[in-house]
């Protein structure tokens, strides 16, 4: 078989394998399961432990107005 034919077959093989893999991810909602079971709990933990400013410590200067 000529080089172009081999390349074409290889290309087709990779194309179909990639699509089959994509279909498995799509059909079995693997992206959703990854987000729900792994990514979201990880991020939640990160956000829960993040140091934040205590906004209540900031004075609310009702009698001081900015220059506008």
């Amino acid at each position: 078989m000529c080089k172009i034919g081999k390349f074409f077959l290889k290309f087709l093989g990779i194309f179909f394998a990639a699509n089959a893999l994509l279909f498995v991810v799509f059909f079995f909602d693997l992206d959703g399961k990854l987000m729900f079971n792994v990514v979201e709990p990880f991020l939640k933990k990160h956000y829960d432990n993040m140091p934040r400013r205590d906004r209540l410590q900031e004075p609310y200067d009702m009698d001081k107005f900015p220059k506008y």
Partner: protein, 540 residues
């Protein structure tokens, strides 16, 4: 045996039929218990399954990335923002699942057209997120860059139209809460609970509208990007939001203009007052930016906004008079409320609208009914549960209730004249006063009963009446609606909810209320019994 093979082949090619009698698809069995994740996605037949996979699922994943590259000044900022802000990371990663919930069971033209509305909303959301992060001083070592200097912060119910005059000069309107609050509730209802709890933790009562609570809670938790040098707040649809503005004034601590949204908007004197307030707001922006009001910039975008409105009228004509309208209830409502509030800041609304019109006219020409199992044409009235905005998709799949139109779509039902400054200002004041949840809900006065007129116009035979339990305004008119429903012999069911807070009334409880109505009052059998009762208490 041969019959079974023939049916299996037919199911493979076309997807299983809708109803139980036809050996239906039983969508409720696709869910995993509690999480609402799918054991596997629905097989919609060869054509629709692969359309969904490539043109919705794959297409939107790819375009989410290209949108970031398009709107972000530096994609690294996007990553930094995701790491910094809970509303970003926790919410926007599962966005494709939001499509899934809204589009479940849809086939053919309904699937394609509704997905274009979702696509436009995602694109608009990514633009807003990028606008936040491009300018955020927290992500840029405290520096106030050019993007920061050209951003205008405003409350999410202050319509984007108000800021068109500065857009030719490179200014952008960023609604402070639209992404951190409003859109998150639809995509991932867990996120907003942190903000509601935060505002109650500092001693505020838990009974006002949870929307006002959540919007203030974002500030309490220090989760608002520092992306603009000044802001415009307003009292939104109800006066609980006045307190939100006070907290925003405290925590934002920058020049702030409070733009009122009058309650009794039918009074011509109130309208004049509102016009003056809008002009005061524009003077405030001129002072802050040093850039004068630009009439041409205003007119250019108003013309596009008016065209979008005319497109919508065209679509409503088909929705009201035929069975060929291909947009499902949730895609209709969210697209409309999002586009009218955010305004023209890109071409995503117009692109989606054109694509939908093309699909719609194909349905009209070929007489394709995208919702063939419709038993009742429903109009949804009052404010919807944000955590279960996809209830209409469920209701169609389970009961054949096709939500044709809703109050959210009809609020900004007008064009704004561009022939003179005076006319434009008068119309803009009207537009501003017809704010979300205001025109036909809180403060709507006589307009709450425009329901009957629209019911007739859209040829609906049933009302889905939202019952926001923490909305004092609409709770006050509950009895009036009950009386009118009886007097007019209108079929109507109530849907209790608490806007963003899924803990007060669960999705399962909302479904139970509709199921009860359909069985005890309507004496009907479900199209898909597997959807009657399932546990999705932990779902996004």
């Amino acid at each position: 045996m041969a019959k079974n093979i023939k049916k299996a082949l037919k199911d493979f090619w076309y997807g299983k039929p809708h109803t139980a009698e036809e050996g239906g698809r039983r969508l409720g069995e696709l869910y995993e218990d509690k999480t609402g994740l799918l054991k596997h996605r629905e097989w919609r037949g060869v054509k629709d399954t692969f359309y969904y996979m490539y043109m919705i699922w794959g297409y939107n994943y790819v375009h989410m990335i290209t949108d970031i590259l398009k709107y972000s000044n530096n994609p690294i900022d996007f990553v930094k923002g995701t790491w910094r802000y809970r509303w970003m990371g926790q919410t926007y990663l599962p966005v494709i699942h939001w499509f899934e919930r809204g589009l479940q069971g849809m086939r053919g033209e309904a699937l394609a057209a509704s997905a274009w509305h979702y696509r436009a909303m995602v694109s608009a959301s990514i633009q807003q997120i990028c606008n936040f992060f491009n300018a955020d001083t927290r992500l840029h070592g405290g520096k106030e860059n050019q993007a920061y200097k050209t951003s205008i912060y405003a409350n999410e119910t202050t319509c984007g139209t108000m800021f068109y005059p500065w857009m030719d000069a490179g200014y952008r309107y960023i609604p402070m809460e639209m992404i951190p609050y409003f859109v998150t509730c639809h995509v991932n209802s867990h996120t907003v609970l942190n903000y509601i709890d935060a505002v109650q933790s500092i001693g505020l009562p838990g009974d006002p509208c949870p929307m006002c609570q959540a919007e203030a809670g974002i500030f309490v938790l220090d989760d608002v990007p520092d992306s603009a040098p000044f802001t415009i707040t307003c009292n939104e649809a109800c006066d609980a939001s006045v307190s939100t503005s006070t907290l925003q004034d405290w925590f934002f601590d920058k020049p702030l203009f409070s733009l009122p949204m009058p309650m009794q908007f039918d009074d011509p004197l109130v309208k004049k007052y509102c016009m003056k307030e809008i002009e005061e707001c524009w003077k405030f922006i001129e002072k802050q930016t040093g850039v004068p009001f630009n009439w041409d910039s205003m007119v250019k975008r108003l013309e596009r906004q008016n065209k979008l409105q005319r497109d919508e009228w065209e679509k409503w004509e088909v929705a009201g008079k035929t069975d060929y309208y291909p947009i499902n209830g949730v895609a209709q409502a969210l697209f409309r409320i999002f586009s009218t509030q955010y305004g023209i800041q890109g071409d995503f609304w117009e692109e989606a609208s054109e694509k939908v019109k093309k699909i719609m006219y194909k349905c009209v020409e070929k007489k394709i009914n995208p919702f063939p199992k419709t038993r009742h044409r429903v109009i949804a009235w009052s404010c919807a549960p944000l955590y279960f905005s996809n209830w209409c998709t469920w209701a169609y799949n389970c009961w054949g209730l096709n939500c044709i139109i809703n109050m959210d779509s009809l609020m900004f039902n007008m064009e704004i004249r561009t022939d003179s400054y005076e006319n434009m200002l008068e119309d803009l004041a009207q537009y501003h006063m017809w704010a979300p949840m205001r025109r036909m809900a809180v403060g709507g006065m006589h307009h709450i009963f425009e329901l009957w007129e629209y019911m007739e116009k859209f040829n609906c035979d049933m009302v889905a009446m939202y019952d926001q339990l923490q909305c004092k305004g609409m709770q006050g008119v509950h009895g009036l609606f009950e009386d009118e429903f009886r007097k007019r012999n209108i079929k109507a069911f109530w849907m209790p909810h608490a806007l963003p807070d899924c803990r007060t009334v669960s999705r399962a409880e909302i479904r139970r209320q509709i199921n009860d109505y359909m069985t005890t009052v309507m004496h009907e059998e479900p199209l898909d019994p597997s959807l009657l009762d399932f546990d999705d208490s932990m779902t996004w």
